[in-house]
């Protein structure tokens, strides 16, 4: 079941460009790694992308067919669908700096 979590603030209208981050986190059940990854992702987004991100968590145990579309092999995988280019971050996001590089966030901030 795809759970869409939208944080309180949807958009900051006065920013130069409304760059909304569409993120998708692929997990397979409630494994410690997945839970860890989700928690770290939330913290990271709140810190750096407050108000302009959207996280979609996809549990492949529920929707196995979705793994093919985004070429998911490893779990957990975070896919940044927007803004382009599409990037993937594999792992439980233990290294915040690398995660931010992967999301092209540091430049933006």
């Amino acid at each position: 079941m795809a759970t869409t979590k939208t944080p309180a603030e949807r958009r900051q209208p006065n920013r130069r460009k409304p760059r909304v981050y569409k993120l998708r986190l692929y997990v397979a059940g409630q494994t410690p790694k997945s839970i860890r990854a989700f928690a770290r992702l939330q913290t990271l987004c709140e810190e750096h992308l407050k108000g302009r991100y959207r996280i979609e968590v996809i549990d492949l145990l529920v929707h196995p067919q979705l793994a093919r579309g985004d070429q998911i092999v490893a779990i957990p995988t975070l896919v940044k669908r927007l803004p382009p280019p599409v990037r993937k971050i594999i792992g439980d996001l233990a290294d915040t700096v690398r995660a931010l590089v992967g999301l092209d966030v540091q430049k933006a901030d």
């Binding site: 793994a67 070429q71 092999v73 490893a74 779990i75 280019p85 990037r87 993937k88 594999i90 439980d92």
Partner: protein, 585 residues
């Protein structure tokens, strides 16, 4: 209950196996790959790993009703489908029929970052989903090791792949896992063989002397016996064919039936009945000794009996053979027209030795001939080493014998060399061996034929001259002189000499007889003459005797008259009286 279950699953000692359907492979693995377990296929680039996997799935889906899943880590689905189509497999159709599921796992390293721990649950789920969609019994992972190039942390990856194999086994899936071999002694780059320990097959693609050969070897097969050789295999429009070096046993039937060689005098040399059906016959000789002609006789005879013949021509084109054989009075063309004779002509260098063998197998299987001619078998040495040719030969002979096909192999021997030695490699496989030789005598070369061996039948030990005439091959009567068999004009002159000697002898005898007759006649003539002389003498003598008697009488009479007339002389009377008394006595 447990025991009964065990008994129902084949015999307790043999592992359950999943037939691959790959031609020849099930024969050397004695039934296929271990069922419900992963098998590692290791090979270098271009060694045919992917095709092996594809064929395993296609055969499974079409022949054994076992749907399959192909997870490709390298080629895209489109490429795979296209490549498979060139080998005669319609993957699209199988996918549409839900007998096959294809998935391309593709990770772009450039758009990826890695932080922290991960596992391969995503892949597990994809495989599980695919398996469930088609109800797969077979899975191919091609080539899972490429994940090492794309995902970080090899330690995790290795553990995860190990877990994957365990999972496949748990699900009872017969899996083929391909791996790239980078060094000759390492089967996989990342040591996968440690995890897939049930069955490991190594594929190899070598180029030797500009000719490529593919080889397959079963490195290991736990719990099963298997052929341990390197088996050549080839990839053609029918997929993979593995060619077992020889059948595992020597148990082919040996028919008693004899078939004519097509040359009456040659049959005569072979105990009067010709060759055994299903035997392998080697005809060896230098260039121009008439090998093809002898073979053509055999073919002609077989076609006359209504048997099908397959003629592998490696030197001449079919038209050329037909034309040339017509010149010696054998017309093969009608047999071609009646589909009793088929020519398969190709330059030996057109393919590797395995390809030739496989083509041979294929055409024999499709044409079902009773007689096969390979002319000449020696040309194949151009495409392989001596060892390879010998092993191919062994396999071919074995194959033909199991099919009870009578085979004629023409072998071109180097002029001047000792043929017995040069044919050493193949001759032991042969049941009969005809040696054709050109002997150089008195400024000419003549052909001779000799039955060097003929297993299981009495045969002539005579070296026979043979003539290729416009009426076919003739084996004239053998003239053996002090120098060996007389051939050609030596034979002709010997024939002439013998004839002359014969005539002289006859004349002599006749002369003697006439002489005797003459002598007899002379003798008789002389005898007659003597007799005549004698008679003449006798006559004369008698005449003279009677004449003298007459004279005596007259004398007496005369005397008496005189006495009487005289009467005066008594003394004379006494004399007279005495004389007639003496006469009367």
């Amino acid at each position: 209950m447990a025991q009964r279950k065990k008994a129902s699953q084949t015999s307790p000692r043999t592992l359950p196996k999943a037939p691959t359907g790959i031609q020849g492979l099930d024969e050397i693995t004695l039934g296929g790959l271990p069922r419900g377990r992963p098998t590692l296929i290791s090979g270098g680039a271009g060694s045919g790993k992917t095709l092996f996997g594809v064929e395993f799935l296609v055969r499974g889906a079409t022949q054994y009703n076992e749907p399959g899943v192909l997870i490709s880590f390298e080629e895209s689905i489109q490429d795979l489908t296209k490549n498979a189509a060139s080998l005669g497999f319609d993957l699209d159709r199988l996918v549409a029929e839900k007998k096959l599921f294809l998935d391309h796992v593709h990770i772009q390293r450039s758009e990826m970052e890695a932080t922290g721990e991960y596992d391969l649950d995503g892949l597990f789920i994809r495989i599980a989903d695919a398996v469930q969609r088609v109800g797969a019994r077979r899975v191919v992972l091609d080539t899972i090791e490429s994940l090492f190039a794309e995902l970080p942390n090899p330690g995790i990856l290795r553990a995860e792949i190990r877990r994957l194999f365990g999972w496949l086994k748990e699900k009872g899936l017969t899996a083929v896992i391909t791996a790239e071999r980078d060094e000759p002694h390492r089967l996989t780059r990342h040591g996968l063989e440690e995890y897939v320990s049930d069955c490991v097959i190594s594929l190899d693609h070598r180029i030797r002397e500009e000719i490529s050969t593919r080889r397959l070897r079963i490195v290991k097969y736990r719990g099963s016996t298997h052929g341990t050789n390197e088996y050549p295999f080839l990839i053609d429009e029918h997929g993979i064919s593995v060619l077992p070096i020889s059948s595992l046993g020597l148990d082919h039937a040996a028919p008693d039936e004899r078939i004519s060689s097509g040359i009456a005098q040659l049959d005569g040399m072979l105990g009067g009945k010709g060759f055994y059906r299903g035997s392998s016959i080697l005809i060896s000789g230098a260039a121009g000794t008439g090998k093809t002609s002898v073979a053509a006789h055999f073919v002609d005879a077989a076609c006359r009996r209504g048997e099908r013949c397959l003629y592998f021509a490696f030197e001449e084109s079919p038209r050329q053979i037909i034309r040339n054989m017509r010149s010696i009075g054998i017309d093969l063309e009608p047999w071609v027209g009646k589909e009793l004779l088929r020519f398969q002509a190709a330059r030996p260098t057109y393919g590797g030795i395995e390809q030739h063998l496989a083509l041979t197998h294929q055409s024999i299987s499709s044409f079902q001939p009773g007689v096969v001619v390979v002319d000449p078998v020696t040309n194949l040495t151009a495409v392989g080493t001596e060892h390879e040719v010998r092993s191919m030969f062994t396999r071919l002979v074995d194959f033909l014998k199991t099919q009870q096909i009578t085979a004629v192999f023409n072998s071109l021997a180097a002029a001047g060399g000792s043929q017995e030695v040069s044919e050493e490699g193949v001759s032991s496989l042969m049941d009969a061996w005809l040696l054709l030789e050109g002997i150089q005598v008195g400024g000419e070369r003549n052909r001779t034929l000799y039955v060097l061996k003929a297993r299981g039948m009495e045969h002539s030990n005579q070296i026979r001259e043979f003539l290729i005439t416009d009426g076919g091959i003739q084996l004239p009567h053998a003239y053996v002189g002090s120098e060996g068999v007389l051939t050609g004009s030596a034979r002709l002159s010997q024939e002439a000499r013998e004839e002359a000697a014969d005539t002289v002898h006859q004349q002599e005898t006749e002369g003697h007889r006439r002489e005797l007759e003459r002598r007899r006649r002379i003798f008789e003539a002389r005898l007659a003459m003597l007799k005549a002389e004698f008679e003449m003498e006798q006559e004369k003598t008698q005449q003279s005797i009677s004449k003298s008697d007459l004279l005596d009488k007259r004398l007496l009479q005369d005397r008496g008259l005189m006495v009487r007339s005289r009467q005066a002389d008594p003394a004379s009377n006494k004399k007279k009286g005495r004389t007639p008394a003496a006469r009367g006595r």
